[in-house]
């Protein structure tokens, strides 16, 4: 069943057309990778999907519902969460607080109920405790216990990447968009990341779309791969087919990644 359908989206910035008439569909429960050389428009696709950019034309639907042009917070509420290529963390807040922000949408108490926050039996306090437990689950899942109360700017890069993943997971999304999850990680951390991505899909059943330059990672995790260049689709299919495709090899020519 197709959960995310992108149809003919176009996005330009002044002179450059970053994404040109691109279409693809992601099925429920699969790990779908998007590859392409630098500047191919991969991140722009994500930005269009989660509403940071409004596509010039084309439609994006999620779970059968048209979400084109909605604000990012609406799209997040609908069940799409993501991580960023260059980390967008709440850097002065602790790991725990970052994860609690992942619970923001599910934390349902009003500003009036907040006033009674200090009483153990109030709705607000109960909610806070409940959400805290959910956040602790994520901490446990990603083994972030040692970093729980440290401000994230003070954590090693690899851990920050995990915190960001954790924040996205805490949102209990239906689909997770990961923009270069292994960029900047060393070999060991990358192996861990592969493990976690697979775990997230297998144990939590979350559909995953990954942008990645590291071909090892792409080979290890992908069910299907989409290759793009200059914002246009080159090929789509199984890992082996795509990586063997002449147009993909030409697009990457000179890049040692292949």
């Amino acid at each position: 069943m197709e959960i995310l359908v992108v149809e003919n989206i176009v996005k330009g910035f002044g002179g450059v057309t970053a994404v040109q008439d691109l279409s693809f569909a992601v099925s429920k429960g699969e790990i779908y990778s998007i590859i392409g050389p630098n500047g191919a428009g991969k991140s722009t696709v994500f930005n269009c999907i989660n509403g940071l950019y409004r596509p010039d034309s084309g439609t994006i639907s999620f779970g059968g519902r048209d979400i084109t042009g909605l604000n990012p917070d609406k799209i997040a509420t609908a069940g799409i969460s993501r991580t960023f290529q260059n980390l967008e963390l709440f850097s002065r807040m602790t790991t725990l607080q970052n994860l609690l922000l992942g619970r923001h949408v599910s934390t349902t108490y009003s500003i009036w109920q907040m006033l009674t926050f200090n009483f153990r039996n109030s709705k607000a306090a109960k909610q806070e405790i409940l959400q805290r437990e959910k956040a602790e689950d994520v901490i446990e899942f990603l083994e972030l216990e040692p970093y729980r109360d440290r401000p994230v700017f003070s954590l090693p890069y690899g851990v920050q990447k995990l915190v960001e993943l954790g924040r996205a997971l805490a949102m209990e999304p239906d689909i997770l968009l990961l923009d270069e999850p292994a960029a900047g990680l060393n070999h060991e951390e990358r192996q861990d990341m592969i493990f976690w991505i697979q775990d997230i899909r297998n144990e939590l059943g979350i559909t995953i779309v990954v942008i990645e330059h590291n071909m090892q990672l792409v080979k290890d995790i992908s069910d299907r791969v989409l290759a793009i260049n200059f914002g246009q689709k080159l090929v789509e299919g199984s890992v082996e087919d795509v990586l063997r495709d002449q147009s993909v090899i030409r697009a990457y020519l000179g890049e040692p990644a292949l």
Partner: protein
């Protein structure tokens, strides 16, 4: 009457434009809105006053000495305070410049008291150069326009046709790359503060004869100059000049045709409207951070 209004608009507008330029030069180089700009100019103006009235220097000598003082003041400000900020973020810088502003304000009040003095220049506000049936042009008007114009041309030449200007522009675009190419970015920023301080000082000297010389004399002009800079979008130098002139025009027309009482705040209404439509000012594209 309309001609007279245009003249006053141009005069106030060019003074706003000078202050706006002074702020924009720094903002372009460092993203710091320098709230101490007004007080730096005020202190420089007092220096001119002391040199003229206490020491009896001829005007030109006093001017040269004042501008040298202003330059050093700017450089020292950058070197002693700005450069040493521990967590250099926007709010921190704003606080430092506000702190420096209070410091200078207090020092000036301490030294020169808060009594207002009249400040006379070789070109006076009461001497008329041209008088026709429809308008009057005073010496001060004419001098202000000419001086403002000359400063703008000099700034343009420095920025576009000298090595220093090239280095300044390189630092504005990319500090890292500039340093890599052997440009001492820190020193360039210091010089930028110095130049900006000179421009501000000239604005101060032009303002003093219209208001009077006292420690609060630059408050209003600074706020207006800052507003003009924002209107023209802090980062475009021609933009802030146009912003200044526009502000002068809006104020004077509104003051004459609508209400003199609310003249001083109409500018903010207009700016709010414009920023509502163009959040980064008239002459800049609103930049969306790439993620």
């Amino acid at each position: 009457m309309i001609v007279q209004l245009l003249i006053s608009s141009l005069v106030t507008g060019s003074i706003y434009a000078l202050i706006a330029l002074a702020m924009a030069i720094i903002y372009k180089a460092s993203e710091i809105p320098n709230f101490a700009q007004g007080e730096m100019a005020m202190v420089s103006t007092y220096i001119t006053f002391v040199l003229l009235s206490t020491f009896g220097f001829p005007f030109l000598t006093a001017l040269v000495l004042t501008l040298t003082f202003a330059f050093l003041l700017g450089i020292l400000f950058e070197f002693l305070l700005i450069r040493r900020a521990k967590e250099p973020n926007l709010l921190g810088f704003i606080i430092i410049t506000l702190g420096f502003q209070l410091l200078l304000f207090g020092l000036a009040g301490w030294k020169w008291g808060s009594d207002q003095r009249t400040f006379t220049l070789p070109f006076s506000e009461s001497e008329v150069v041209v008088r026709t049936s429809s308008f009057v042009l005073t010496e001060h008007n004419l001098a202000s326009l000419i001086i403002a114009m000359v400063i703008m041309v000099i700034l343009y030449l420095i920025l576009n046709h000298t090595k220093l200007g090239l280095a300044m522009r390189a630092c504005q675009q990319n500090v890292g790359a500039a340093m890599f190419n052997g440009i001492p970015a820190n020193r360039i920023l210091g010089i930028t503060f110095g130049i900006s301080s000179i421009v501000g000082a000239i604005a101060g000297i032009l303002v003093a004869p219209i208001t009077t010389l006292d420690p609060t004399m630059m408050w209003d002009p600074l706020v207006k100059g800052f507003a003009a800079a924002v209107l023209g979008s802090m980062k475009s130098l021609p933009g802030v000049v146009i912003g200044g002139l526009l502000l002068g025009l809006i104020e004077n027309l509104f003051g004459f045709y609508v209400s003199l009482e609310f003249k001083s705040i109409v500018a903010f209404g207009v700016i709010m409207l414009i920023l509502f439509i163009k959040p980064s000012g008239l002459f800049a594209k609103h930049y969306i951070r790439k993620v």
